[in-house]
Amino acid sequence: MTNKKFLFVYILMPASVLVVFLFSLVIGLNDISFVDAVKALFGGADSNVTIIIKQIRFPRIIMACVSGAGLAVSGCVFQAVLRNPLADPLTLGISSGAAFGAAAAFVSGLATVTSFFIPFCTFAGMMISVLVVYLLSMQKRFDSNAMILSGVVVSYVFSSAVMLMFALSPANNVQVAFVWLMGNFSTFDERLLPFVTAIVLTGIIILSLAGNIINAVSLDREKSKTFGMDIEKIIKFLFLTASFVTAATVSTCGVIGFVGLMIPHTMRKIIGTNNVILIPASAFAGAVLLPLCDTLSRILFSPILIPVGIITSIIGGFFFICLLLKPKRE
């Protein structure tokens, strides 16, 4: 790792996260000065400002940072493990499993019983889809193409099930479910924040430490086997860890698309494909992008809050169109 890269990833990027965090804290429906925001965090501001900052914006921004980091890292790992730059929770069917679980919670009316029911059902839905993809891929010894095909199949099946549920449900249930599924940070239960943060951070630390292993897996499989590595076991472990990180974020905030695709692509262009540095870099970049998108979602049609998933999808769409139209360097 060169010094430049090290400084970029471990100094400049965390600093950017801090700047975006503070920026997101002061921007919103109520204008709050930077000094008041900092005072509120440390308990020196008036009660209204303290409530807005401490109880509304602070947990929301932390959740956005954590989710952004988690989604970016899991996208990065899926792409390396499957040796496919388009692999992400969506193509692997994991997001559709989540949508299925959440939709079931809303449509059945159980979502209104307790706020924990939605994350519970979403998590369960995701784990079912992960399990199905896992079992199908196992038949082909975790071959990359088999895993992606299994993901696409699972994704279609669960999406059809969601559509079927929506078609048979009352319109108001469907609308609430739809908004939730687009992904947002306004409705999650604050009590889940420590759990989600703990799961995502543990996952990111493990996956960052495994950067060299992920590098070997991203090489030709036959070649990596000759280094004495149990590639199938490693793929299983990485797939399940990355799925778990995704599940933790998506089950609390809904399906937020494109973060897991856009961030690793951009970071690869900036710092290369070495996962030892790419994974922490993606984590920081995700923790910058998602709070920014969330702030946009709060102020764009203020006072109406739009789902952050819409913003990430629009930005992601433009990003990939630009990539597609960019002339190739000779």
Binding site: L209, I213, A216, L219, D220, K223, K225, G228
Partner: protein
Amino acid sequence: MIKIESISVGYLNREVLKNVSCNIDKKDFFGIIGKNGTGKSTLLKVLCSLIKPHSGNVFINDENVNSFSKKKFARTISFMPQRIDTSLSFTVFEFVMFGRYPYMNIFKIPSRADYIAVEKVIDFLQIATFVKRNINELSDGEKQIALIAQVLVQETDIVVFDEPTSHLDIGSQNDILEILRDLNEKCNKTVILTLHDLNAAGEFCNKLVLMEDGSICKQGTAEEVLNYKDIERVYNTTVIVKTNPISNRPYIIPVSKTRKR
């Protein structure tokens, strides 16, 4: 040192290797030749435990390879595939370091000994000029040398190469084969390789096997294997076999069918 005993391998309904047996001694420069699709690469992959045979066994130093742990096996035999995926932007140094994985801890974090081993190989192959470059910026010849470096840092007694000189010009081909000869003669490694170029096989290998239709049809020294009768039959062409006046090794000249008439 290596004993390949009645190996049979098949993909779907096609049998690729049929009851193949041969012995490879320590310090052999062992070449495998034959037409395309005769099972040369499959034999190498069986030897490197990348393909499980339907029947038969491979023994290294009288020990069945099935009883080797993955790590022990990786410290005994290293493999260089025909081609590498160079879409990833690793530097040559990072790429070579992969060869040290069998010696690293669970998270594969390189130790001082790993850095020293890589530096040693860089010196041996004299590639210090391009170790900082990106692997996908190298010429085909340089890529092959980077792959050889990766195999070398694995520090195994047996090194296996699948067509190491394919797609290379004659100068680069010779450079690569000279490096392999150095490995064999100076570093005492047993070199096993598949080759398409029969002249290179004749010039460099001390033992050859000629494969035909999934079986070994001839094995022995280069002089014994490279005779016009077997070569013409296996490759279905007309050749003249001569002796290189400088190295005293056999070489082969193909004869055009039109001119023959």
